[in-house]
Symmetry: D2
Subunit: 365 residues, 4 copies
């Protein structure tokens, strides 16, 4: 492939010491096109090597949160202060910072460089697409509008929320084949979605379910409509079907489980939906290094999907679906469950996949 | 009250050594109207005292599964073989056996005595009501038909499934005030609902959600319609609204959490629903010892209900509701979450409450 | 009893909004001798009512962490800034603040008032006893020295560490009857011992054991020797036996489990130890409202003690012991397991019990 | 190496459908020397393909319990009835059956073939070594005595108990360098050690520690002495130091954690012990495919080892040690914690490693 012959692209990771930042390190380890060359975090870490920044000075403990070991090559990279990061030497920027900070820093970076972000700060702006490669790749063209409107050489393109992504992916083949009137979803989200500062406290989640995640439901509702919306060439017309969510937290480490009820426009049988999902191929012709073989894996066993067993399917990049069956309460009702890896496809690896799409599309070079 | 002056009623508990049987022992401890005088279990326990039957002969371990300590008064009662139990000396029978065995034994007992059962064996028979005191108390009159049709002096009246009960209770005031078109519910059920033989294996539930509970969804759908059905005087006409469930298991010890979406006939605001639930009083005039002060407690905190914090509200007899809000995907849509104690209101204590209703109504004496 | 006729003593709770502060509210609810009349916390809470201080202004969530509901009587008490608290109107002060702050504030309070503290700040000072009522009640007399030496009208007397308390209590009857050469203990501590700021993060403890709790082992070793030390009349001579601990954290909400190995001076059989523990009565003649019926409950079932089943024995004030047996690796070796409630006997209720002892002894009035 | 040129050895796995049996399938997947060609299980599975035997006929659920996917090559092997298994075509047998059944079947198999077993049935027989390759490889020679004494062409050689193995491995370099007087160990064992029939019930372990595992402590004490015993040429003289264990179960899926206290003969510093462990190389010259690079990995971070983070070190074949420090209560006291993977090194993979040792030694061909 032509790609392999090009020079490696140099990426900065902002927020590199956090849980999502670490997932970026893992996602770029041995990546064939992109190399992490610049790391930035809070002022506190600035000036120390990445290894030192992750090491507790009092106890010597090494704060690494991924299952995969860290790439030794990045250990000695000096961590910069995110708010003063020098972007001159990089080709693209992965942002894993909190939304408030993203509001300030991402436009600054985007003035000159492409920024792919896991923060929600810009998701709901008119000229900002929420890209899921293979699902709404064509929305990438909106970035041209964004550059023009804002006078940027770069751009900001955010990942969807980690709870949106599995929902939007599994709705896409249904939407294409049968149309959608309404979606009702209850999530059982893992703890890693809340991060570590302090995230979910052990005392609160043991023997428990937390029935509320502030702001989450609104995000999922809005983002799903935008992602499955129609791109007219210069704007995205959100999909018209209604989406209603109830988002809860359960005692699971990684992997969001979602119980989905869908009312379709056209009548369809569970087998039709299973086939549409299994056969869905959003990457026709494209060959992106981080793409899963199939965006959706349909499991015939009624006891699946389970977050512990299915979250890592295809490196955590596939959404696993099971129990597709008729729903007796909705018109043309279909229901199913899905499991999606919230810090892989739902965060860092998903953002890297997005970068790959934009590289192939010529948006990043 | 007149009750207190009457003789104590003598109850048999069948399946007394299991988790629900033990909950019956707890529910009848210091009960003002009913006393456990006969205990029965499998052949293996027969002939031993209740205390011995719960004691592991090899290790001396005492197998007691309730939070509340056992009633010392029952410790020396000799356990009978359930299939040969002598019912002559009892006034009513609580059955906590498996459905297959219930199919055989409950008719035998019902020939002469009232049987209140936590098994599903007879729930779907035409002449059998599924009673929730305060919700459909008037269905009790169907027992007369049952006695006539079957030539029994006693009767069988089963508890609803532990997942049905919280749903039916919270739907009742909505149904009364606004009518219901459709209900979509996703449950996050506790482990105790699966019992201990072996129930949920620790290896399976740690860091996980199990997305399937065999047979559960069909039960909840059917039972909800029957409980909220119209009793014509000699038959129950199931409620006409559709019910669709997805039932899952989470790593919680006790207390089922349910995420409910409802489409009502009449338009209503969340405040209206909250008021209808909070003010719902199914026990007007009735004073039953095990009844909660309110069948439904509405919690204003968005982080509630939580199973660990709310399951024991009013001795595990109240259903706790929170996050009542508009649902954007259904016509006149309302959504909320509930927590209901599956082995208290949802099993033994619920059955005792049912007995109390039937005593007050003159069905048991 | 003479007590009942006296006026109620008025107590301040410093650090009243935290998890231990809340446990103090619970421990003093309906207390016959002591009433919480003053509450203090950080500057952030100052000026708000206790109820407001516990309510999240953004979500309305009420942050109450105890199983028992809060005393409605304290809800409207205005919270003072701890560092400026007015102690004029109180008879004693319960301190539930962090050690660093205790270092500064407790001497200030102690200048005029008795301070009973759950912080470790003063535990290792020569003139400060670490009291466990019924175990080393006679050490209270050291407070006279402290007052003299420091020129205080009040005093500081700290609770032992929550991991020390169960160990010291169970060692006491062994020490009295057989002497002790050495103690080796491995703890499996609950999450509540780490508090909530952020305490133990859910992601870290799920499917895991944390093998280290900074500073804990040294505390337990030192405190155990001091508590079981000999009080000469003006100083405590620490017990001479060696104590070695390994402290770990497990996925348990409340209740520390400890695996103890003891080498005794005199030979003894497990039955002797069980009897010495069961018969141990440290409260001869004393009748303190918060005292458990027995400080130690010995369980014959080999599967006990278990933290979930045994932590609340006698309101969380008894230490439950099981599996007392010979240890083949130590001279006169005995081994056993214990469960002790770390936020009841091991913190707030334990401190209230201590106050009761000091009231009876005339140290507080 | 000479090995590679030889024919692949054909292995039978008895008890192939259970959790340890499945781990054998995983351990032999792509193994360079050994191939699973025969599978046996209970009568119920006999006659079905391995895939069918693992598939629930009612629900279609596939009962696979390992993290690694099953080897497709074994899916169509017909499962034989273990008690009638035809051993003619195999070169060695891995036995993963329960001890009672092992008592009967293993001698039958051993009459003609080498049997490597995870059952405890024969561990305590005089002519049976408990081999840990790299720790007591020389004990293999005892198999000659066994064959002679019993008139077998084959032999039985059992794995140690999954709790013994990490302890024995980490004691070995201490024993060699400093001698051992006494060992006191408290284990915090994972649920997988109890299997799935039903193993640990979720209701029992949530928010809990189980302080007793029947028979476990005796096994660990006896086996450790035997493994570290001296082999005189025709018998094993157990090591003379005393071992005392307290074995508990915690809410962890895989990986046993052990808190170890050791009294050594010679004085030694923690650094000496760390060095002796890190440098320990039991495989000098030997190159066994399943052997870890190092039998012991010493972790400098005080928060390690943790079962979730460390159990899979070197494919679950290394024992990870941390917190090596002085013990103040024992003569020449040293204490540390270890994590060892109980179903990998502690069961199936450990047995395969043992087979490799015996193949290299010429005991299996």
């Amino acid at each position: 492939m032509a790609r392999a012959k090009r020079e490696m692209l140099r990426a900065a990771i902002v927020g590199a010491t956090g849980i999502v930042g670490q997932q970026f390190i893992v996602a770029l380890h041995n990546h064939p096109w992109i190399k992490a060359t610049t790391l930035a975090a809070s002022e506190r870490s600035a000036g120390r090597s990445y290894k030192e920044a992750l090491t507790d000075p009092k106890t010597g403990a090494f704060r690494w949160y991924c299952d995969e070991p860290p790439d030794p090559a990045v250990m000695n990279i000096p961590v910069q202060n995110a708010s003063e990061m020098d972007v001159a030497g990089v080709d693209l920027i992965f942002s894993a910072i909190e939304s408030e900070q993203a509001q300030v820093l991402e436009p600054k970076f985007a003035a000159t460089k492409p920024v792919i972000s896991t923060a929600s700060a810009f998701r709901y702006e008119k000229d900002v697409p929420i890209l899921i490669p293979g699902i709404n790749s064509e929305h990438a063209a909106l970035l041209k509008q964004q550059q023009k409107a804002r006078g940027w050489k770069g751009f900001v393109t955010p990942d969807p929320n980690c709870t949106t992504i599995g929902l939007a992916i599994t709705l896409k083949p249904i939407y294409d084949a049968f149309g959608i009137r309404a979606v009702l979803m209850t999530s059982m989200q893992s703890m890693s979605g809340a991060g570590r500062s302090p995230g979910v406290i052990g005392l609160d989640i043991l023997d428990n379910v937390i029935p509320y995640i502030a702001g989450e439901e609104e995000k999922v509702q809005k983002e799903t409509q935008k992602i499955l919306g129609f791109f007219s060439g210069n704007a995205i017309q959100p999909a018209r079907f209604a989406v209603s969510c109830t988002c809860t937290r359960v005692n699971v480490r990684e992997g969001h489980t979602e119980s989905v009820f869908v009312s379709t426009e056209k009548k369809c049988e569970p087998e039709d939906v299973a086939r549409a999902m299994s056969e869905y191929d959003g990457f026709k012709g494209l060959s992106l290094p981080s793409a899963p073989k199939r965006l959706i894996v349909v499991h015939p066993d009624p006891f699946r999907p389970q977050p512990r067993l299915d979250r890592d399917t295809d490196n955590g990049m596939a959404t696993v679906v099971g129990r597709i069956r008729k729903d007796p309460a909705l018109e043309n009702g279909i229901k199913y469950l899905l499991v999606s890896h919230n810090t892989k496809m739902g965060a860092a690896r998903g953002a890297v996949l997005e970068a790959e799409l934009l590289i192939e599309g010529g948006y990043i070079s």
